[in-house]
Structure formats: C-alpha cells, structure tokens
Symmetry: D2
Subunit: 339 residues, 4 copies
C-alpha cells in the first residue's frame, strides 16, 4: 500500500502514521519529495485494506499495490483452467456454444430446439434455458420454475447435451442442482453475495455473468467469493455493460475478453444476445468475440422468436444460428481454435 501525504502534513502526523504501522506490524519506506512525502507500507495488503487510511490525518491518497483478488488471478495459476460441464470442456482449445431459448416454455419446443442445434456439425454444445427468470417487471412471465428444470433435465438426457440454467435464490440451489449440469448467476445477481456463497459450497460449474455496471475487477472479486468457498469451477461471462448508448440494449465490452484473459486463468464466455439486445447484431458481435479470444459463446435461439415468452427481439431462429455457426467455425479456425 502506498500512501501519498498532504502537502501540509506535519511531522507529528507522519509519526502518528508510522507509529500505527509499527503497531500493526508493518514495515514502512518514507520517500520525501519536493512537493509530497510518500510512505510505502510493506506487509500483507489484506490487513491494510481493512484500515481506513484515507481518513488518517495528513493523508491525501491511498494506492494499493496488489490486486484484491487471489484465487482467480494468473499469478495464482498460470495455465488456463478447463472446466467440465457434463462432457463438454470449457476453456480448452475448442470453442463451446451455449445455446437455447431465453425461457423454457414447453418440452416439445425445447426438444426440437436441442435436436436441431445438435445437427450443426462440429458443435461443442451446452443447452441453456431459463426456469427462474429475473424480469424487470413483476407482471412479466417469471419462468416455469421446477417444472421447467424437469423439462430441461429430460431434454438433456434424451439428447445427451449438458445443461446450464439460472439460479436466483439461495434456497433454490439444492433443488436446481438435481436437474442441471451448471449454474448460471445472472448479471443482476453478480453481487448477491449470499447466492455466491451458496453455489460456492457446491462443486457444480458456475457461469458467472458480469453485472451491468460491474468493472472487470468487480467481476473477478465475485468469482473470488465463489472460489473462496472451495468451488473452483467458475466460468466468467461478458454480456454487455450499461453506457449512455441507446442504439443497443447494452454495450458489449469486447476489451474485457483480452483483459480478463490477462488477469485470470478462468474461461471467458461471451453473450452477444444480451450484449446487443437485437438479433440482427448478434452475428457480428459473436464473430468478434471469437476473434478476440473468448472460450465460448452463449446465444439465445428460439424456434419462433415472434412467439417467444421473453427476449424474442434478441433471439436467433434455428436457421440463422446454423449459418452463423458456419461463420464462427471459420473465424475460430483463423484464430487457432479447434472446432
């Protein structure tokens, strides 16, 4: 931790700060410049972080030296983590596709969708489908609940495709675990720490979506919550952030893909459906995400977007998905991925 002192700091205040440091058991390094004195605190930053140095008399600014996350960082683990969802490996050489409808609506439709998706040659597939839906309005369709999870499990069993589905409530973690292969934590719950701790106690893979106004650092800290509980099977998902731009539902943060890859060993999934909010843009941004180096994509598809119970405007038809997938294979190959 580096502390920059105010220009009018007194010797007494400096002594007070150095004294406190000694009390806590930290070494210090004082550097007196012409305009400012700077103190470096040497020792465990965790201890230092919990102290409100900013309000100590004479202090102008406090600057941490280390990142606040550990288990998620490349310094902790140099090679990429590969997470297994069913038989599908996420984070390896092969691009993974998580596709399916926003909400599970009925078994027939989900089964047809899954079977059609599977026909895409070479696809490494995970089936997505929401049973618990976080809707902005209490009057909107809230999902089928456990009934939906049952359908997802049946379709998953009949097609051999592993599944991922959102869990919103710590009380549903145990129940959901019976039906699905991976938990999704939605953007709105990225800092629902009770929920993070609860899924952290399981060993299920977790797809953690970035919050709408979360920095990359915030996202990594939320992953750290899960890993600190012992579950290391975390996949991070960039799904667009909130900005002033209104032409799209969110602004997909393409920079985040290489940034996360530099800072962390965890796999990165891109969600161009939420990242744009408009199906006509999904293809371009999906291709871009693959070119930027993501490990997988999450894409909303629907047999008939015109009749979808949620997120119709951003869902691809199965035909559109099939032609997009061909393009994605070409781009993935161009950047050295297997597919």
């Amino acid at each position: 931790m580096i502390v920059i002192l105010q220009p009018d700091v007194t010797e007494q205040q400096i002594d007070h700060i150095l004294g406190k440091a000694k009390e806590i058991g930290l070494r210090t390094n004082v550097s007196r410049g012409t305009e400012r004195t700077v103190i470096g605190f040497i020792g465990p930053e965790d201890v230092l972080r919990s102290i409100p140095l900013e309000v100590w008399p004479g202090v102008e600014q406090v600057i941490p030296v280390l990142a606040p996350y550990k288990l998620v960082s490349r310094e902790f683990r140099e090679e990429n983590s590969v997470i297994k969802v069913g038989d599908v490996e996420v984070g390896g050489k092969r691009l993974v596709i998580m596709a399916g409808p926003c909400s599970i609506e009925n078994k027939e439709s989900l089964l047809r969708t899954a079977r059609t998706l599977k026909k895409n040659e070479g696809v490494s597939l995970i089936l997505r489908g929401g049973a618990f839906k976080p809707r902005t309005s209490p009057y909107d369709f809230q999902g089928m609940g456990e009934e939906g999870l049952k359908i997802l499990k049946e379709v998953s069993a009949e097609t051999g495709i592993p599944s991922v589905s959102e869990v919103m409530d710590p009380r549903d973690v145990e129940l959901s675990a019976k039906y699905i292969d991976a938990f999704q934590i939605g953007a709105r719950n990225m800092q629902n720490f009770s929920l993070l701790k609860e899924v952290g106690k399981t060993q299920k893979p977790i797809l953690l979506k970035r919050g709408m106004s979360a920095t990359v650092k915030d996202l990594l800290m939320s992953a750290e919550y899960i890993m600190a509980k012992g579950n290391f099977n975390v996949m991070l998902c960039e799904r667009g952030i909130r900005t002033f731009e209104t032409a799209t539902r969110n602004t997909f943060d393409i920079n985040a893909i290489p940034v996360i890859k530099q800072l962390s060993h965890l796999p990165v999934i891109a969600d161009p459906s939420h990242g744009t909010g408009r199906w006509g843009l999904v293809g371009s941004v999906a291709r871009a995400a693959v070119a930027a180096g993501c490990d997988g994509l999450m894409i909303e598809v629907h047999e008939k977007p015109e009749e979808a119970l949620s997120d119709g405007p951003q869902s691809l038809t199965l035909e559109n998905f099939a032609s997009l997938f061909k393009e994605l294979k070409a781009v993935a190959k161009a950047v050295g991925k297997d597919i």
Copy 2:
C-alpha cells in the same frame, strides 16, 4: 403501444400485424405518412408488452405509451405516501435523518453514537447500522450477523430510536424482522427479485436503494415488485450512480429527487455518504438533497472514522454531524420543511 413500420413494409405484413392484433382483442389505428406508416395499438399494454413486436416482419420500432409501473405511480395515488418507521413519519412535512455507523461493531459504541445523535435538537431520527454487510471482497469484514441485530434492537429499545438495517438474503427476512423496524435493500440487491418478493410479503417498511446502474424507471419497477406483493410501505433511496467520473466513489444523481417526486407518491431518501464516498463532500450534497426536496437523509457517522471496520472514509464524526445538522435545519426551513 405505438408501432412504427419499416419504409419497405408490405401490405401483407401490415395485414399480418392487424390480424394478430385482432386475435388478441386489440383495437388498432393506422396512420399512413409519406415516409412511414404508424400503427397505434389500443388496449391493455400489459398484454402488448409480453409480445415481442420488435421481431414481427415489417416492424421498425415499438414505443410504449404507458409507464410499466402502476402502484408506485402518482397516477395511482396522487398525494404523498407517509410511511411510519416506529414513531417516525417518513414522507411528511418533517425531514427525517437515518444515521449511524456503516457496520454495527459493539454495543457500547452504538449506544454512545445513538445517544449523541439524539441530542441534536429537533432531529427526527432513525438509527442505521449494518449487521449483514455486502462487501466487494470475501476477505473483508462481513458484519456481525444476528449478534449485530440483537445489539441494534437493544440500543433501539434503550434510546427509543427506531432502527433500519440491511437484509441481503431471503432466508434472513424472518429473523431480521424480529429485531428491526425497517428493512434496507441495498443497491447490489435492487434487482434481487427473490428478496424483493420476500420482503414484499411482510408489512415492515422498506428502504429500497437504487442500484448503481439502475435508471429511475428500474428503481420504480423494483418498488413495484414489493408493492405487488402487498407491502406498500416503500421508501426509495438515491445513493449515487456509476459514471465515468473517478473523483468521487459514485455520482449522486440530484435530478432523480424531483424526477421521482413527479412520477411517484413514495418518499425519497438521499444517501450522500455513498453518493460521494468522501466525508468532506457529504455536507454539501446533504444540503443540496434537502434543497432539492428529499424527504430524508441517510448519513453514515462513526465515533472514530479512523477505526471504523467499514466505510470509514465516508463517515462523519459525531461533531461534524452536529454542525451539519444545524445547516440542514436552515436549508430545510428555507424550502418549507418542518424540522
């Protein structure tokens, strides 16, 4: 709902749209301009909202006519709602102060703090103090939990000041309800819909904080979630939003105060502590919020901010609070509030 059609829409597509509208039982009004045709859908917008009109062939843009919230709106209830927290009325003529430490740390300190706060002449006081703390890092102090709630209840009983404290987990709602007079829903949980539904089932007053990237409309929709479950005792809290500005922890959205007052009958509380993140700015923004017409303030105070276990940098000392309160009384009087 108003639907603007694409310039190259066909008559067949228009017929398809009008046919569907008839099926659902809606009247339509077609207006053909030189460059665009516009269809007005007349009927319940709820039904319309659930249909993904944006993906219907020939549709360019869909514009709702009505706001998506009802119970929170001034159209639903014209006069201001007054919510009772213990004996304190929030939303009436008198400015309310919710003050206390970020985290409850021990009984002695909280009791001293509460007693000192109460000495401020004319203050209409609610005691705040966190027992469950949503911390960005899993390694930071997470609050005292139930132990903290017990302390809060005792101090509240001994001083006669009603209490408010954050609840983060739907499983803690029942427990917390035994100890406190009002629930706080934190910014990170503003769209934790499971939690909103759970507190919506009680009749306890709820202080709902605006999410860091929530629009005013999003905030009102979250309040609607609570009210739709039957709990009308909701207070809204502006606590700063996330912007590109790094000079402050958040950007306090002063505009939101009159905007909410126009759109809703619910009381508005301002939190300049989180809205700025620096104690040296709290006073100015607190005065501003009162001048803008808020119904109350939430302010973090601490006996010794230098030793606070959380949010020290944005906490006022008890002395600073006392002089700020005098200023607030003057401003409140200037804008016609009792205090």
Copy 3:
C-alpha cells in the same frame, strides 16, 4: 511518480529503469516488498509525464503523485478568485444569476426579457443569449451570428446588465470581443484547444462549460490551457454529464461543486437548464446547486418557451423565474451567501 514493477521483473530491468532515471536527472527510492518492488521517482513530474514509463520492460503500473494542473489549483492560490464581468463580481459572497434565452431571436424580445429579469429584487445579473449556436443537426437554427451579438450589446447597454455569449470558432473571438463582456466556451468545445488558446490570449472573463464526458480533472486541465496563456479570469460551469439515465437530458453532477471548490480557487457556476433538460426540474436542481455552494447559476428563460427557436423544453417563463428567484434567495441565505 510511483512505478510498481511486475512480479517477475529482473534485476537487469530494474537497473535499466534506474539508469534511465539517472540519465534524466531524477532521484529514485526503491522499496522491495514480498510480492512487488516499487520505485519512487523524485523530481519534476512534468518531465516524467512525457515519458511512456508504462511500456518500459518490467513495469506493471505507473501512478502520478501530483495533479497535472497548477494554475487552477488551490495549492497555487489559496483564496477564492473573484472574476469581474462588467460590474458583477463572480466568486464573491453574492450569488450571481446568468439568465436569458438560449438563442437571441430579436431585439424587442431580448429587451423585454432583460428588463423583466432586472426587476427581481436583489438580483446580481448577467444576461445570456446565444448568437452562434452549436446544434446537433445542420438543419436546425444556427443562431443569428453577428446580428445577434449587436442586439445583445444594445440590450446590455440600454439595461446596464453585462453580457455573456458563446464563441465557437477561434476566428470569431476578436469579433465577439467587441460586443460582449464574457465569453462562453460550450460543453462540446471544452477540449477545442485552438479555441481555448485563442480566448486565453484575451483578458475577457471566460465561462468554461464542462464537456458531457469530461471528468472534473479534464475540466481543470482545460481551464489550465486558458490560464497558461495568461488569462486568469476563468469561471467553471457544471452543466450535467452523460450517463445511462434517460429520464433527464443529462445528469447534473452535484458532487462536482464541492469537489471543484476543494481543488480549485476558480468560481463555479451551475447550469440546471442543461443539467436536467426539462424546465419542471430546473427549480429543484437550482436550489440544490446553491445549497451545495455554487457561486452562481446559469438559467435559460424565455418569454414564451412554446415558441422558442431552441431549447424551449428547458426554458423557464419569466414568471416561473421570478418565483424561483425568491426561493433561491432563501436557500442562499440559509447557506450564508449574500443576495
């Protein structure tokens, strides 16, 4: 300047960095922690800023110790600067009001407006009115140009109220200087450095508006551009920033008022008309800005907003202004201002 080194930095890289520092003539202070080595560079930060330390091998992060501005800072000048616009003092004990129409439309209307504004008892008034208008669309009314400036000068002379008007083009600075008492630099031109240098060469007072996505630091740097040319008569204007919120045209950054007051000796003017974009919100935010400690307000008024050639939706009628002014007097008095 503080440089944090990468965990895997080599001794050779450290030597390379220390060698370069010596070459440039800087002292260094090396602090070796368990996880990172930190080097403090002691010497003129200006020199250091121009060196891309970030790309030197072994460097992880570069942190400046000093603010990049000088002349604008409180460290340079402790007491508040008072700027004279005609006879009106900005930055002193008295709250200043800059009011008038968005665009100058004709002499009669401007004269009536000025005379009515002047009738408000106790007002310390500057007349605003745009002759050169920066409009988003090339098809919108672009202002009356020099004709408008002539009208402004005449009205100013007949009423004795000094004037302020926007200059957009360095080629118009000399011309405009003949007609007006203060230049306004608009938000879109805050980083039009050619224009800043040009007005910096005059001694006219300058109202510098904050850019829509400018941080407070950026704003201070733009003021520094003007002052570095020798013109110290700069007034800073907070007029709202661009955020994700769509309920208002901009988000008025109330925090910026006390932040600027802490960092700089220059006066701060608040523009609630642009800061909100809706006349029904102007009053609340104007009162708030005064309570937060601004030195003056810029408010758009129009005889008949319904017929204004620009910014009608955010203009107050003269009657509304008169009642707002009474409220402002009360708030100003409550926070210790003369009016």
Copy 4:
C-alpha cells in the same frame, strides 16, 4: 412525429394543438385510448423538430418517427460508399490499414516506419501521423505543426503511401490540405461544428472519429454536417467510448460497427489503439473489429514505443504489427474480405 398527451389533458388543449398543427400545414391523426390520447403529426419532420412541442400544454411525451439524418443514411443510398484516399479505396472489399506513429517526430523515423509497414505483404496502407496534437495538458508536446506536415508529405511521396492527419482548427484546413490526402477530425472535435463545416467545403476525404460520449446517432449527425456542405467523402471511426470501466482507457464499442453498417452507407474504421489504450490489447480488439465487419483499422505503431513523444503505451512495435497483420489477414479472409 407522435405526441402522447397527459392523462388529464383537456379538450381545449387538444384543440389548441390541432389548431397549431393546421396553422403550420400538418395533417393529424388522433387516437383515443382508455388511458392516453395520442396524436400523430403527418408532414415534414424537419419543421416539427424545430417546434418545442414538449412544452405545449397537455403534452406528456414527443416521439420522432424518422431519424434526424438523411444524407448519411442507407435510405438515402443503399449500396456502400467507397472513398478514395490517394489510390487506396476505403469501403470496398479490401481491408484498409491506417498505421503510423501518434505524433510525427522526425523524418528519418517516419520514413523508416513507412517503409517497414509497406513490406507487409498485401497491405492496403494509409500512413497516419499527427502534426497538430490535441493534448489534455497544455504542458505536453503539442505536435510539430506545419513542419510535421511537410515531413508527412515527403515521406508519403517517397513511399507512395497516401496520408491522413488530424486538423484541429478551421484556420489550418487550407494549409493542411496542401500536404495530406485525408483529414482526420479527432474525437474531441466531433462536435466542433465550425471545423466540420470548413472541411465540408473541401472535397478531401475525412476520417471522422466518434466523440468519447457521442452516441452513434450523434456521430451520424456530425457526418451529416460535413455532407450537408457538399463533401460526401466521409469515413466514420469507432475509437472507444467513455464508461465506468477503468481497466482500459476507453471501452471499444464493437456493437457500433454493425449498427453503423445497418444505418449508413459510409465506411467504418476501427481504432483499437485508442479503443483500449494498451498495446497488449490492441491485437485482440483489432481482430474482433475485422470479424465484426469494419472496413479498415487505424493502428498506432512506433519504432520504439519506449521513446515515443505521445501515446507510447498504446503503440505497437513494427514487429508486433507485422505479426498482427498476418492474423488480420486470416480473420479478414474468414469473413469474406479480400486482403
């Protein structure tokens, strides 16, 4: 234009609105729903835009039907525009690379850089280099001015590579035109309307960079300013927007590429150097932009970034550029571009 009326609008107010519409010569279509009455104005939206309908009594909301731009839009011109910069075609089937140092520093270095860049097999190259530099600080290197332009012209002539360079001041347009093949309008000047009009009077190609807080619509309106003056040779440049994320200098808005391609016929250039601000991220985002469908890239390169006079941290070495270019060729081919 569609006007939604307030719930308590009176018949008199409706008559007033309809009467005014008739006066201006517009047809109207009144649609009375159960909760709101909606009026459609049929006629030229330009006329309507200039009227502040929002402040007319009884009006709740005003919604335009048409986009405010014309000449830039796909409706005006369906096929892609191809702009010639020297011999290089921008907007056609071949990906264009604009590369070079941030600032021109001396002839030898620029010549070496240009020659090395040209060696990349198959590159369709434009040489960039700044002579007038918009620096945040008045104390930073401001560019070599005309001397720099002369160097650029000489290097361009000796290597046969056309050039692009920023112009910041309307007074420099004529001078700059003598030396360079295309003007660049920087992000900070995107709404410097005097400058836009001045370059609009020439026939030189213009690279118009998106402002840091400009929406795509704002960018298109600024292009419209240039085209409305008669210069149709406009290229749009996405270079990152300002958001809350601090891990990167800007947030590159990848969505903007397909959005602009849908709305406009003008070519889109991506600038991953400014879009990220860190050379280690430039490659990933460059690949992504190509995969998303951009027509060209602008990339800062420097012989020795460690010694660059500006933007060193985001500049690629010539070696790094060469290996990136190979990757770009692969991605371009994968998405059907020639290179």
